[in-house]
């Protein structure tokens, strides 16, 4: 190679070599665009996604209802897009929150080291080893009014979304914290960090201005890889009736209703599950591709 390539170009080129990751990126972009544009699409098609129509329930695909209708006669295609918007936004918000939390814990543990590091990592390992799901179910079932949150807010639809975001964040931070800590340990010994320290920079400045930006790569990889699992978590909680609350659609709670109709309308159970599956696998491929692209050792693996 004679032309000099910038690191970003190099990463991008390596990423594109991972064909599944590339396809996943396209799939996720299309899905996100479609689900964000869902209200617009509904308007263009002249369909009200929340309108029930009991004369047209459980219908097969038609020119009007592309994927048919659900048990209340609502258009399945629009419901899927609406569900996708809720699921994706909730999980992405939770993942970003968990990245912030995990990065802070990881960089502090790795940089300050010593006893604090020991305690923080023990907690992280402890949380990883716990049977988390039952605990999260309890967390999802608590009554916010007992925490002093006013009743009208506690019963609003947005609150159930915020709650899921927090639950997702509380689950996702461990992976990020471990990876960022490992990265911090190696960056701590590098010359630029030592130079900053010699110039009298405070630990806080070194951690957040010098180390974290350089750990951004692994932070992005870790977050992307955790998103898949978090989507599964959100859909599971919603399926159990503890996540996104109807009438708001989410892929998980669409499957709750479909479960009882397995015999009459198996397709109702197929679509939301398939979308969860494809989205999760796309995020996992994406994370895998990013890891290969950002990991210098991957060059040797070819």
């Amino acid at each position: 190679m004679s032309v000099a390539t910038s690191p970003t170009r190099l990463v991008w080129r390596r990423f594109l070599r991972h064909r599944l990751a590339e396809a996943s990126l396209v799939f996720l972009a299309v899905l996100l665009a479609l689900s964000l544009a869902a209200p617009l699409i509904a308007q263009l098609r002249g369909i009200d996604p929340s309108m029930t129509d009991l004369y047209h329930r459980l219908e097969g695909p038609s020119a009007r209802n592309w994927l048919g209708t659900d048990d209340l006669g609502r258009d399945l295609f629009q419901r899927l897009l609406d569900g996708g918007r809720v699921s994706l936004l909730v999980v992405l918000a939770g993942a970003i929150l968990s990245a912030i939390l995990g990065a802070a814990i990881g960089v502090v543990a790795g940089y300050l080291g010593g006893r604090l590091d020991g305690v923080l990592m023990r907690i992280t390992d402890g949380v990883i080893a716990l049977p988390l799901l039952p605990l999260l179910i309890v967390l999802a079932a608590i009554d916010p009014r007992k925490l002093g949150i006013p009743a009208e807010l506690a019963q609003s639809e947005t609150f159930s979304l915020y709650r899921i975001v927090v639950i997702v964040a509380l689950t996702g931070w461990t992976t990020v914290a471990r990876l960022v800590r490992a990265e911090t340990l190696s960056l701590k010994a590098r010359d630029f960090t030592r130079a900053a320290r010699a110039l009298g920079a405070r630990p806080g400045r070194i951690m957040f201005r010098h180390i974290l930006p350089n750990a951004a790569g692994s932070l992005v990889v870790a977050t992307t890889m955790s998103v898949g699992g978090l989507i599964l978590l959100e859909s599971t909680l919603s399926f159990l009736g503890l996540g996104t609350q109807p009438p708001a659609a989410s892929w998980g709670n669409m499957l709750t209703g479909a479960q009882e109709l397995l015999q009459e309308a198996p397709l109702l159970a197929l679509w939301p599950g398939l979308l969860i599956f494809l989205t999760v696998i796309a995020f996992n491929f994406l994370g895998d591709g990013l890891q290969d692209a950002l990991d210098p050792r991957s060059e040797r693996r070819q």
Binding site: A129, L132, L133, I137, V138, A141, D143, T236, G273, I281
Partner: protein
């Protein structure tokens, strides 16, 4: 050794104490309290009665005081009663814990028995078509929602084909021959075990592949090849034994998620296990049952981790307990 065990025991106790407090706090935040239940069960109750009962049961006292009283009772061996089933919680939970062990244990054995060879197979041919397909299969397993897989399996094997029961557990009549009883058990366990095994399989196989690839880069593997050892011997004799140690550690850490998966699987297939019981207890506001169930689940997970760590020491002479401290 005894020092190590002692420090691990202290760790387990601390984890359990912290967990019990957190869970106690969270359960206290769930809607309603035991007295509300009594009021709804008995319309004649006046507000004075409710107040008196609150004082009697100590529900009006501060949280920390209630927690300490509860902890004191537990330490004296009294785990209390399940409100919805009117039986001591331990008597309710114990048989269900065994059922969960049966489900999770078979799923764990089957998925490791398939995943470890798959991982080795893929690592031996990196970037080949087989590796690619195995990788795809693993990603598919990791990305499938457990409850959806359960629904698909039920609708295919129970509803459409009618080959297997959709849920429940075998309950052979008295006088059934041993073989027939085993057969019934297998029929009922097939779908739940398959569900749980399939979602774990991908995780295990990927770890195995990663560990093998790492080991196959080592100098001693090159040396073994240079000395003319057969590929089979290099893979199984030299590489696999060394790659197994990190994989075992990760398998041990996965017990918690195995339990979480079992919770969903049990609920979907009406398998009378701990996970389904805890979920039901939370749904019916059976506070004490949920609390003790969660602690028991945590306890068995941590003890499982400890046993796996000890097994690791037995398998791998490089891992020494003493210098890890």
């Amino acid at each position: 050794m005894s020092r190590y065990l002692a420090s691990r025991a202290v760790e387990i106790v601390i984890t359990l104490v912290v967990m019990s407090f957190v869970v106690y706090l969270l359960i206290g935040l769930m809607p309603g309290d035991p007295i509300d239940m009594m009021i709804s069960g008995n319309p004649k109750m006046t507000s004075e009665d409710a107040k008196r009962l609150r004082a009697l049961y100590g529900v009006d006292r501060p949280l920390i005081e209630r927690y300490l009283a509860w902890a004191h009772q537990v330490l004296t061996g009294n785990f209390g009663y399940s409100r919805s089933l009117n039986r001591p919680v331990l008597a309710v939970l114990w048989p269900r814990l065994l059922n969960t062990f049966e489900l999770a244990g078979f799923a764990f054995l089957i998925s490791s028995a398939i995943a470890l060879p798959l991982g080795v197979w893929a690592a031996a041919r990196p970037r080949s078509r087989a590796d690619y397909l195995i990788n795809l299969f693993c990603f598919a397993g990791i990305s499938t929602p457990t409850f959806w897989l359960a629904m698909l399996l039920i609708s295919l094997f129970a509803v459409k084909l009618g080959w297997l029961p959709a849920g429940g557990m075998a309950n052979p009549r008295v006088g059934t021959s041993f073989l027939a009883a085993v057969g019934q058990n297998v029929r009922f366990a097939a779908l739940p075990v398959a569900t749980l095994a399939l979602v774990q399989l991908g995780v295990y196989a990927r770890f195995m592949r990663g560990a093998m690839i790492e080991v196959l880069r080592q100098d001693y593997v090159r040396t073994a090849r240079a000395k003319g050892a057969s590929e089979r011997r290099v893979l199984l004799g030299h590489a696999f034994a060394n790659a197994l140690a990190p994989v075992l550690t990760i398998l041990a850490l996965s017990f918690g998620s195995l339990f979480s998966g079992a919770m969903i699987t049990e609920t979907m297939f009406a398998w009378p296990g701990m996970g389904a019981m805890i979920y039901q207890a939370i749904q019916t506001n059976d506070f004490n049952l949920a609390l003790v169930g969660l602690l028991l689940a945590t306890f068995s997970t941590i003890v499982g981790n400890l046993l796996a760590d000890l097994a690791l020491v037995a398998v791998d002479p490089r891992v020494s307990i003493v210098d890890r401290r």
